[in-house]
């Protein structure tokens, strides 16, 4: 008999009938069973609600589409009766022990949120491969360093657990920015809470397969990052390590993007030296170390080696989206407000 854990899982879903079943089955197959699973059917038209009901979970439907993942999750928050609440995307599955691993982080009373290791479930297209390497690198190296210093930059929105009472006090997930997970994480720090990264708790989202889907996701993430920096910079300044991590992330996103998109091609043309374009992949030996160490732990070295070149393409594309977002939000004062799907 499996132990029931005092957790309610909220699954926001808008037209997710194709992927929801796998998500719910992975939740039901956990080593500890959540007390309740609530699917927020955000006025879908593809039978998402029926998929949830067929699997015996609670399905709630707001009177009108909430317009964002944050809105859908917050809609379900008043129904939560457990001390812990978990949010998971409707296209994300979790390892069988993932909930139990995250749960362990809450033995520390100061911890208000915990997130896990993210690995794309499907690694086939160029963009999925790029994201696979990006996650292997970031979650094997950067995020673990952030956690050691007590300040993970984001408790990932696709799979995180929170203390219900703290979340309610903050008003749930806010849609004042397009990156509600970053907003919530930084708000938790500001309120004096701790956030943990638990690398043993693994989740598997579906990442963008096509450029169209990727573009929507990168647009939202880039604008979300800039919006959060604009919203929180005063408070972030008072939080050691986080302020440095945010500053270097912002600096790199701005300066490295300009180097990739303008400086390198310009120098290559000016000096008539195409070899300068090697600058795009100059850090391949340094990138490879954490990636291969992360992949070795998962028995996926061949997959990582094959996917490695895609990372450098994705990184350059990412740079273009970030520059555009920085321009629109900071200089042109044209903030992006419309939430577009993509976890």
């Amino acid at each position: 008999m499996k132990r029931t854990a005092p957790i309610t899982v909220i699954v926001p879903a808008y037209n997710e009938a194709a992927t929801l079943r796998e998500t719910l089955e992975s939740l039901k197959g956990q080593t500890v069973v959540p007390a309740e699973i609530i699917v927020v059917d955000d006025c879908s038209t593809d039978g998402t609600g029926e998929v949830g009901r067929a699997l015996g979970v609670t399905v709630v439907r707001p009177p009108a589409n909430t317009g964002s993942k944050a809105g859908a999750q917050t809609f379900a928050l008043p129904r939560v009766r457990t001390p812990l609440v978990m949010a998971i995307d409707a296209d994300t599955t979790v390892a069988p022990d993932a909930v139990e691993r995250l749960l362990a982080a809450f033995e520390d009373r100061e911890v208000a949120a915990a997130c896990g290791f993210v690995i794309p479930r499907r690694v086939r297209s160029l963009w999925e491969r790029g994201r696979y390497i990006e996650y292997l690198f970031a979650f094997t190296f950067y995020k673990q360093v952030q956690d050691y210093y007590g300040k993970p930059l984001i408790s990932s929105g696709c799979f995180s657990m929170y203390r219900t009472e703290v979340l309610r006090r903050l008003g749930g997930w806010s849609n004042r920015t397009l990156a509600e997970d970053m907003d919530l994480t930084w708000s938790l720090y500001r309120a004096g809470h701790r956030v943990r990264f638990v690398p043993e708790a693994v989740c598997y989202p579906l990442e963008p397969r096509t450029f169209d889907f990727l573009a929507r996701q990168l647009r939202r993430w880039s604008h979300g990052f800039v919006q959060n920096v604009m919203l929180h910079w005063r408070e972030v300044l008072e939080i050691p390590f986080l302020r440095s991590a945010v500053a270097v992330a912002f600096w790199d996103a701005l300066i490295a993007s300009m180097v990739y998109l303008f400086l390198l091609p310009l120098l290559a043309v000016l000096f008539r030296a195409p070899w300068l374009l090697l600058g795009y992949v100059i850090d391949i030996p340094a990138i490879s170390v954490p990636v291969l160490m992360g992949a070795a732990g998962r028995g996926e070295i061949p997959r990582a080696l094959v996917s490695l070149p895609a990372f450098f393409v994705l990184r350059t594309v990412n740079g273009a989206f970030f520059l555009r977002a920085a321009w629109a939000e900071l200089l042109a004062k044209r903030p992006l407000r419309i939430y577009q799907k993509g976890h």
């Binding site: 050691p240 993007s257 391949i284």
Partner: protein, 152 residues
């Protein structure tokens, strides 16, 4: 979601140095009795990754040096004149390192200074709110204060 462009620029250097500092920090904590097996393990693993990354950066520098040293086109592109080729690879490596560290110091140092200024302002406001005599700098202080009174 993920943030920024992982692996590039000062961010990479920031995490590299932070990870290299972890085993040292853990050692200090162990001496003070504040270390646990879990954090020691994390520090050792991240320290090892950081050492590997540092090795990777060295390999990159070595490759650049090799390329610049053996390719006349590359030499010319970097230095403009062929005569400066001797020792060019080490100049390039040192210059890259100095620029990278200087930028990191500028970015992180700038944020730390901004944080200190903000904290200073907040502390001053708190003192003023608590009814302490406002301080407008030592010159003003000298002007309004009289000589110290002898204790009663």
């Amino acid at each position: 979601m993920s943030v920024g462009l992982p692996g590039t620029g000062v961010g990479g250097l920031f995490y590299l140095l932070s990870a290299l500092a972890m085993p040292v920090r853990e050692l200090v904590r162990a001496v003070r009795g504040g270390s646990c097996a879990g954090s020691r393990q994390v520090a050792a693993r991240q320290g090892a990754i950081a050492a590997g990354v540092a090795g990777g950066i060295w390999v990159t520098g070595w490759l650049i040096g090799l390329m610049v040293g053996h390719s006349p086109v590359a030499r010319e592109a970097v230095y403009g004149v062929r005569d400066l080729a001797a020792g060019s690879s080490s100049v390039l490596k040192v210059a890259s390192l100095v620029i990278a560290f200087a930028t990191l110091v500028l970015v992180v140092g700038g944020v730390e200074v901004a944080a200190w200024c903000k904290g200073f302002k907040r502390r001053r406001r708190a003192r003023e709110a608590a009814g302490a005599a406002p301080r407008g700098g030592w010159r003003v202080g000298l002007a309004v204060r009289g000589p110290e009174r002898p204790a009663a």
